[in-house]
Amino acid sequence: MTSPEEAAMADKPAIDNPWQTLRQLTPARIALGRAGSSLTTRAQLDFQFAHAQARDAVHLALAIEPLAKRIQALGLECLSLHSAAADRQSYLQRPDLGRRLDEASAERLQAYAANHPNGFDLAIVIADGLSALAVERHALPLLEHIREQIQRENWTLAPITLVEQGRVAIADEIAETLKARMVVILLGERPGLSSPDSLGLYFTYAPKTGLNDASRNCISNIRQEGLGYPLAAHRLLYLLREACRRKLSGIQLKDEADMPVLDQATVQQRNFLLE
């Protein structure tokens, strides 16, 4: 004879963890339960779905025409460019190619610059990076917030450049060609399992080809569940103004709007394991 309890167990062979209450404390995949000591079917499929979303985000092609139209609808000039990485395969294996323009794009940009010899204060580049999904969702609304803020500064704005198969450093070549004093690139970050659409932003003062990350400032994790557009734009403008004042960017220009430092009181108060 099996008891009703045992019968129920046989119905649901997965074993729940009785510490579900911890899940409110972190987005980490805790208290997943187990099948034997392995992952349950449900947790396994949840993971696979998240991974599939992230994979699709990496391989999704940036729909460049609709994005260009939406930017032009804001009354902004727009140029479409392509890096020297012909496709995603070559982009993933050859970071050097993603950091520079292909010949046709370089020529088009030089022609534009020849007609605008005075240069610009600020160039904004939008590139697919590792998540076109992030660009499709967040680039335009963030651009609107940035634009609103920079209008007060009376800076001249170069045409918005859209780059397919672009990496961060490609912004330096674009800005150098356009004779821009500052450059900001918005691009899709490497997708995480829980963040397939995270947008990153890099800023360089006095950009030129060949600079490395030490010359740049980064604001990352711009997405619905992460850093919002107003705050991202606010932090960027802080960096831009400070950079103009001190004539530099990168590690010497610290983002004072850093996250709050933990103090003893919060640790003791909030860590349930030590209560």
């Binding site: 074993i15 963890n17 009785p18 510490w19 209450t21 911890l22 899940r23 409110q24 404390l25 972190t26 987005p27 980490a28 995949r29 805790i30 208290a31 997943l32 187990r34 034997g36 000591s37 392995s38 992952l39 947790a43 993971f47 696979q48 998240a50 991974h51 992230a54 994979r55 985000a57 990496v58 993933l92 294996q93 050859r94 970071p95 050097d96 590792l130 970050e189 490497r190 997708p191 995480g192 399992l193 829980s194 963040s195 995270s198 994790n221 850093d258 996250m259 430092v261 933990l262 103090d263 003893q264 919060t266 640790v267 909030r270 860590n271 349930f272 394991l273 030590l274 209560e275």
Partner: protein, 464 residues
Amino acid sequence: MTHYSHSIGGQTWRFDNLKEVLAKASPARSGDGLAGIAAASDVERVAAQMTLAEIPLKQFLVEAIIPYESDEVTRLIVDSHDAAAFAPVSHLNVGDFRDWLLGEQADEAALTALAPGLTPEMVAAVSKLMRVQDLVLVAQKVRVVTRFRNTLGLRERMATRLQPNHPTDDPAGIAASILDGLLYGNGDAVIGVNPATDSTSGICELLKMLDAIIQRYQIPTQACVLTHVTTSIAAIERGAPVDLVFQSIAGTQAANASFGIDLQLLQEGYEAGLSQQRGELGDNLMYFETGQGSALSANAHHGVDQQTCEARAYAVARRFKPLLVNTVVGFIGPEYLYNGKQIIRAGLEDHFCAKLLGVPMGCDICYTNHAEADQDDMDMLLTLLGAAGVNFIMGIPGSDDIMLNYQTTSFHDALYLRQLLGLRSAPEFEQWLARMDILKQDGQRLHLGRQIPAAFRPVLERLP
């Protein structure tokens, strides 16, 4: 300069120097292609391997692949070479050395005695002639045992680093992942947090919190906040409880400089750690992370292939008698290791080379979402490393690092290996798990509690 050549199939292949033979003999991977040093064809690769097989091990002691004068890692390798320990294999070439390693005479005692006589370049070379099964079989002969608050690296055992990362270092969020991990029997290698912050005061608070948890529940393990060695030194100066001193290291002086370190600074970190006298069973207290491709990504590889550069990092590691070293094999991305096949092979090479050099090697079995890899690939590397006798792996909730945005092995994955291969935790930690009614292991049978252990019930009941 010596030239090397080999004739086969009516063709003679020439290589300018040892560095070129090593690079072209390396099994294919994207990073060497990116660096422009890989073999141009499969046939050239095998010709290079045949060339390499005939090179005497002694040649490695006279032909530095990165000049002695310009690289302190080369100086460390050359100056610390133990000729007496090298004697048993000093007459062999690389191909014969592979045969020797696979033979019966190369048992645990012989390999342990040999380690100080081997250079990273020798073990990298022989690994290039090995298949996966050779890398597994030879590595499992060697055990490298280390101690701080427990005993790691014993035969038939495998430890886990509990990695409770949180995107904003939220203390309750970190604590929730720690408890989840402990209740799945993880955490004997270390409870190690990658902090989101780089501020010294933030790091100090995390250190105090981890120390308080270990003390409160009397867990026989050690804590680490994986921050730059200079920050750990600063934390020690401020009186924060530092068990393990962490640093990412690489195999060339220039790559280490890109990490903001040199051997002198590592020595200072090591001495600062020793001054704490926090180890109870031993004073292995350095924790190093490595990974193929780091020298290339810092443009500091000197034309040396990424696997040989990686093996040189182990010479840096063993200098400081570390408790833990792990390669973060798939973290760097597809431009260095393109897919699951390349990641799996690299993980096994790194583990093999480190063990032969006497380094207590673990592995962060991992991948990013832009690599051509998935959970199946990780399962293969996990299973193979379990068979190869890996010292420790990572344990993270559901394989998903929500702070670093990559996938590594889960708490459940460690239990899979325990069940499959009968691998147990560090003995002191195993006893604690049993005492706490969390996990009892009887060979390949695991008995996991279904209830919340008594020690944790009160704190959980207080949560809303």
